[in-house]
Amino acid sequence: MIEKELIKNLKALNEIKPRKDWVILAKSQILDAEYVEQRVISKPAQKAWSILEFFPSFNYQKQLAYAFATLALLAVGVFGFAQYTMPGDLLFPIKRITEQTQNPMQVAYNRSEDLVQIVKENKTQNLDSAISEFKASMVDAAKKLTQDLAQNSDNDSIKLAIAEVKKIQDNQKQLETLGINIGEAKDLDNVLALLVQEQIDSLNDSTLTEGQQEQLAEIIELYDEGQYSDALEKILLITN
């Protein structure tokens, strides 16, 4: 084979070409795979990660964030579970912490509800704690009631106080029927007695119709019997 012919045959090797389907496939594998991947990852997410990667300390902070999230979930779980506890239970102090923002009258009512529940379910191991908690809550409720009435002894405030006291008294009666006598709620009674006394004095100084005078006599009778919340209800009827 002479050189010229050899070169001609060499150039003829130009006919060797790759398979068309492979050319297209390889191109898509090289270029499109990454292109699709970029499209699948949403741009805001990608941007956020790139920002995180820019600050190496963020990787450490990510771990902290996960730890914090886990702790937060755990705390939420504990606080949630604590809402179903009774006095004497391990997690009850947590429930008491969460109740600090509530009105002491409401808390006292909650304790009376707990007590009823404990007696009904015969949870004797919780009974002592429940009675102690109820009495303590009643002291707090009486203090709060005294403060509220000193600041604002209008009819609406008295109505609210009476409603709360009635709810607690209902529970006390229920407990008595179940065989539990926790004694009189002296602190609360003292506050109510004082309030009734003030109102009776005020009515005595006022000019009353015959009917109102009869009602006042009944109020004084209720006061003497120690039924202060009933006496207050009647007072509200006269003053309204």
Binding site: L6, N14, W22, Q29, L31
Partner: protein, 167 residues
């Protein structure tokens, strides 16, 4: 990013056949040539999108292809100077059905003989005669003086002629 992708897409279309042919004549196997060529363009794309300075994409891709073929033979435990005794066991059956269909007997013989040539002679002959690459460009890729390339081209043709005679 989209702009860079389009640019590389054009480079791919322009060079895919050339690189494939270059690799195929050096490995004498369609399957292996396809694998190596894919790898060449993959590496090329990685470099291109990282905004590396690539003045001559053709030379850049040929350089990757040369190295990839060397790596391939290294992995196969072969030297870059191919012993004629070992070729029948290593290569494909030689002339494939595809080659038979498109290449004449003489051209096929040239193809088989190129495969047996020294690596550098292979490169120079393919670039200059198949791809019409000027001597100056080959000199740049191989980092050798143009005169040396001319001498190598002459010697490569001579050796090829002898190999064809032997076959």
């Amino acid at each position: 990013m989209e702009h860079i992708r389009e640019q590389f897409s054009e480079i791919y279309d322009q060079y895919i056949s050339k690189i494939y042919r270059f690799v195929y004549l050096k490995v004498n196997s369609q399957e292996i040539a396809e694998d190596i060529t894919s790898n060449v363009f993959m590496k090329g794309w990685e470099a291109y999108k990282s905004q590396k300075e690539i003045n001559n994409p053709g030379a850049f891709l040929y350089q990757i292809a040369r190295n990839s073929v060397v790596d391939y033979y290294r992995q196969k435990g072969r030297t870059n100077i191919v012993s004629t005794d070992s070729i029948p066991q290593i290569a494909d059956s030689g002339i494939t059905a595809h080659d038979k269909a498109i290449l004449s007997a003489d051209v096929s013989a040239v193809k088989e003989s190129i495969y047996k040539l020294k690596k550098d002679y292979q490169d120079i002959l393919i670039w200059h005669y198949l791809e019409d690459m000027p001597i100056a460009d080959i000199a740049k890729i191989m980092d050798k003086p143009a005169g040396t390339i001319r001498v190598m081209l002459h010697r490569g043709l001579k050796e090829l002629k002898e190999l064809i005679k032997e076959s």
